[in-house]
């Protein structure tokens, strides 16, 4: 019996390793394909050469470089590569934030949209742009800060509302989140209504997308992604315990209330950074954690890295699809993720025998 168990354990470990390895290979592959695809088809060897040595002749002098090689290099290193990398970062951030929210509120339907995190972030960022608050200081982009403030305000407002309504149960939190999210969306509409010269910019940004990404956009988001990601990743054990509910988590020695606040801050930072640079993009945070869990299980030590990679791959693929499917017109990537993610998610739900949309189920 024991030996059989150990063999099975080995089987599961191998499955997990194979899956992680597959993701780790697929991520650079999909980024390279994304850099090759577009109105100007770029041969893969050229892409790889440009990626291998991105700053060789990029920059101001690049356009003087004669021939296709120089042009390819400019397109890859200054336009497509930063765009693909940002899409990857944003997808990873939203997916990890989704996994964290699902665990913290032990609710499989939680994602960065619950608790109004995304709407709050969008509102914060829009207010900052319209009111022309300081958008950078000391060379650090500040839009994510405003988005973060908006996200955090929305989350804690939801949390406070749910508590007042009789304890922070997952259901109360979801309902409060819907209300706060709606209010934030309404406030956002108001901001847009009075946005004047910024109308086009904000409307476009709200549709979600990576058009016009530069390396600078990545530098803006990176510090927030790093801090938010670290806050979530170091809590892999607590995430396991919280997924089973507060009572169980506390029985396992987790200071549930405090850890939840830390994790919500981390997940909100991730959400805010992604929303600030690419607008709100739905479904990645909801779908990816479920997909990965169904393959390798729910244990976060294994889950989180794979969720990050899968989210990155999905977002790069969705963005590439969005800008090539009806080229030269670009679709907002949020439309692609929603149109493919929604039905796919329903399919996953239908396939699973035991799925309980409101989390937990009392055995009867």
């Amino acid at each position: 019996m024991n030996r059989e168990g150990t063999a099975l354990q080995g089987h599961r470990e191998r499955l997990h390793r194979a899956f992680s390895l597959g993701l780790a290979l697929a991520l650079p592959a999909v980024i390279i394909l994304a850099a090759a695809a577009g109105p100007v088809k770029i041969p893969l060897p050229e892409v790889i050469r440009a990626v291998w040595d991105p700053f060789a002749r990029a920059g101001p002098g690049a356009s003087a470089d004669p021939g296709d090689g120089g042009m390819y290099r400019v397109i890859v290193t200054l336009i497509r590569l930063p765009r693909a990398v940002l899409a990857a970062l944003s997808g990873a951030a939203l997916a990890v934030a989704g996994a964290a929210f699902q665990s913290v509120f032990h609710n499989p339907l939680a994602d960065p949209y619950v608790l109004g995190a995304s709407s709050g972030a969008a509102l914060g960022a829009a207010v900052a742009v319209v009111a022309n608050l300081g958008l950078s200081a000391l060379g650090v982009g500040l839009v994510p800060i405003y988005a973060f403030a908006g996200a955090l305000a929305a989350v804690f407002l939801s949390y406070g509302l749910a508590r007042r309504a009789g304890g922070p149960s997952p259901l109360a939190l979801l309902l409060a989140g819907v209300i706060v999210g709606s209010c934030a969306s309404a406030a956002l509409s108001l901001v847009i209504y009075f946005s004047g010269e910024h109308l086009r910019q904000i409307t476009f940004w709200l549709m979600g997308g990576f058009e016009g990404t530069t390396w600078r956009s990545i530098l803006i988001a990176l510090p927030y992604l790093t801090i938010g990601g670290a806050l979530v990743f170091v809590r892999f054990r607590e995430l396991d315990a919280l997924l089973l509910g507060d009572e169980t988590a506390r029985g396992l020695g987790v200071d549930a209330e405090r850890i939840r606040v830390l994790l919500v801050i981390g997940a909100s930072l991730l959400t805010a950074a992604a929303v600030a640079v690419s607008g709100p993009i739905g479904f990645v945070g909801l779908v990816v954690p479920h997909l990965v869990r169904s393959v390798i299980g729910a244990e976060h030590r294994r889950l989180l890295p794979d969720v990050a990679m899968a989210g990155a791959i999905l977002m790069v693929a969705a963005d590439t699809l969005a800008r090539t499917i009806i080229a030269p017109t670009e679709l907002p990537v949020g439309i692609v993720t929603a149109l493919t993610g929604g039905p796919f998610f329903l399919w996953v739900l239908g396939r699973r025998r035991r799925f309980h949309p409101l989390g937990g189920r009392k055995a009867t």
Partner: protein
């Protein structure tokens, strides 16, 4: 290793503005095998939640092995006390082994993942509870009895000195009820202190040594069956006339009148029947 396991002194505890217990004092000895019984809403679970530090008293003190619970972190408590909460199933894709290994979390810190030594503890706990063969199964696919044993295995993996169980037999078939209580009885024989909230008086009487009768936010009685399982006390607690019939049995008495037959851990020297006398009605 002397002194009581728990000492409660003047404890006022409850939810928000409404305290359930006011000025509660009691002692529980080490190695106890105690059932908390009483009507719904009387404070059984509140008492258990107080002992596991899930609820913090607004007044008074709870001492665990001589140390004030307020001076211990949730993690410290989790290394001494294992809590088996009421079964509530969450069907995220955890395997039995994932769930049981979580019992090591109070012993891990920083970025530590469970190592080989932790796995050995978890395997021992799974073997003791008979779920080793299920280790790779998803918990969502288990029966109620199997899942309950997995939860006990997780608690044992914490290597606790105290096991607190909240309605461990709720929602279980009769055979699983006996199985679980047999299991904790054996663990108690190995030195683990066990305190369980039980709804079912018959099961409690069959398996446990000592009883805490809780009703209306008061501990009405504490002690062995002679002192607690009396018609007068139970009638008062449940607000109905309860008649207690007690049978003393000789060992190996073949005609055992229980429903499921005695398990290995149940006391086979006595048997109780609790009858509620009906008032009014035509029959």
């Amino acid at each position: 290793m002397t002194g009581p396991l728990y000492e409660l002194r003047g404890v006022t505890v409850g939810y928000r503005q409404a305290p359930v217990f006011e000025g509660l004092s009691l002692d529980l000895p080490r190695g106890c095998f105690t059932a908390v019984i009483g009507p719904n809403g009387g404070g059984k679970s509140t008492l258990l939640r107080t002992l596991s530090r899930l609820l913090r008293p607004s007044q008074g003190e709870v001492m665990l092995e001589g140390v004030d619970l307020r001076r211990l972190s949730q993690r410290d408590v989790a290394r001494i006390v294992g809590l088996v909460p009421q079964v509530s199933r969450v069907d995220f894709e955890f395997t039995v082994e994932d769930i049981v290994l979580m019992g090591r979390y109070p012993h891990l810190s920083g970025l530590q993942a469970p190592g080989p030594a932790d796995r050995r503890v978890a395997e021992g706990a799974m073997a003791a509870t008979g779920v080793l063969a299920l280790r790779e199964r998803l918990v969502g696919d288990l029966s109620g009895g199997e899942y309950q044993r997995v939860l006990v295995a997780r608690c044992l993996t914490q290597e606790p000195r105290v096991l607190l169980l909240d309605e461990p037999t709720a929602h279980l078939d009769l055979t699983y009820q006996v199985e679980i209580l047999d299991l904790v009885r054996r663990l108690n024989a190995d030195g683990l202190s066990v305190i369980a909230v039980l709804h079912d008086l018959n099961l409690a009487a069959q398996f446990f040594d000592d009883f805490i009768l809780v009703a209306g936010g008061r501990v009405m009685a504490i002690g062995d069956s002679d002192h607690v399982l009396t018609g007068d006390l139970l009638s008062l607690a449940y607000g109905a006339t309860v008649r207690v019939e007690r049978y003393e049995l000789r060992k190996r008495d073949s005609a055992w009148p229980g429903l499921a037959g005695p398990g290995a851990g149940c006391r086979d020297d006595r048997f109780f029947r609790f009858l509620i006398e009906r008032h009014g009605g035509s029959s």
